[in-house]
Amino acid sequence: MITRMNNLDSLLGAMDLFRNRMNTMFNEFDRGVGWTGAETYPRTNLCDTGDNLEVIAELPGVSKADVNVKIQGNYLEISGTRKSDIPEGYKVHRIERETATFSRSFTLPYDVDANQVTATLKDGLLKMTLPKSEAAKPKQININ
């Protein structure tokens, strides 16, 4: 008995979705971060813009003086402290925002030129532009 094509389509669609999920999961494991749960702090994005790598990290309530960034070759470390900002003379009703020291290290896909890294901290986002080292930059090859 032939069922409606429609059903088959939606079934295959669901399998596609599942396969995509599995793929992204394996990608996450490949880069050694594993599951990104609540305990992963700070959360980061890494983009490759050709000549540069761009890293964005979520650091709400952390001032410039309390963040340290270390770079060596293709190793990047972001560490610092999230200080408590409980005001004086107030009664506490609820504390959800965590205060702790944090440290997270990454292996970047390329070596970067540590001398030319720029970093800005605005609205609780740390944005870093990491120029790839000369050897890692994409090169245009002319064909004769």
């Binding site: 994005n45 890494l46 490759d48 979520e58 650091l59 959800e96 925002r97 609205d123 609780g124």
Partner: protein, 128 residues
């Protein structure tokens, strides 16, 4: 009989497409003293003009949208564009006209001053 068939004949209009951002509940700290209730909310990456605080009928809706404008190919991505939204019940003793907020380092600090009538008062007892 009424020959008007418009009600049935009318083609169904396309539902308006709304580009909704995924919702995130921001984490908050809440403090209180004699003069005000103070709320700290983490909203990393939200610009001042993208935050709205609406108080209506005893409910305060705190909302802020984050647009990251990412460029290039993502090697990994752990956070994305989102809307931070959370609804709170606000006691009647809050003076809504005097509510003010500041945003610093991605943390919103919202001051909810209590109205004069709700502030604690020391009653002096006179000797009769």
């Amino acid at each position: 009989m009424n020959e008007n068939t418009e009600l049935v004949a009318r083609t169904e209009q396309n539902v308006e497409r709304v580009n909704r951002l995924p919702l995130t509940v921001p984490v908050v700290d809440i403090f209180e003293n004699d003069h005000e209730i103070l709320l700290h909310a983490d909203m990393p990456g939200v610009a001042k003009e993208d935050i709205s605080v609406d108080i209506d009928n005893g409910k305060m809706t705190l909302s802020g949208t984050r647009q990251l404008h990412l460029t290039g190919a993502a090697t990994w991505r752990e956070f994305a564009d989102t809307e931070f939204r959370r609804v709170f019940s606000v006691p009647q003793s809050i003076d809504i006209d005097k509510v003010h907020a500041e945003l610093k380092d991605g943390v919103l600090r919202l001051h909810l001053p209590k109205s004069e009538a709700a502030k604690p008062r020391q009653i002096e007892i006179k000797v009769g």
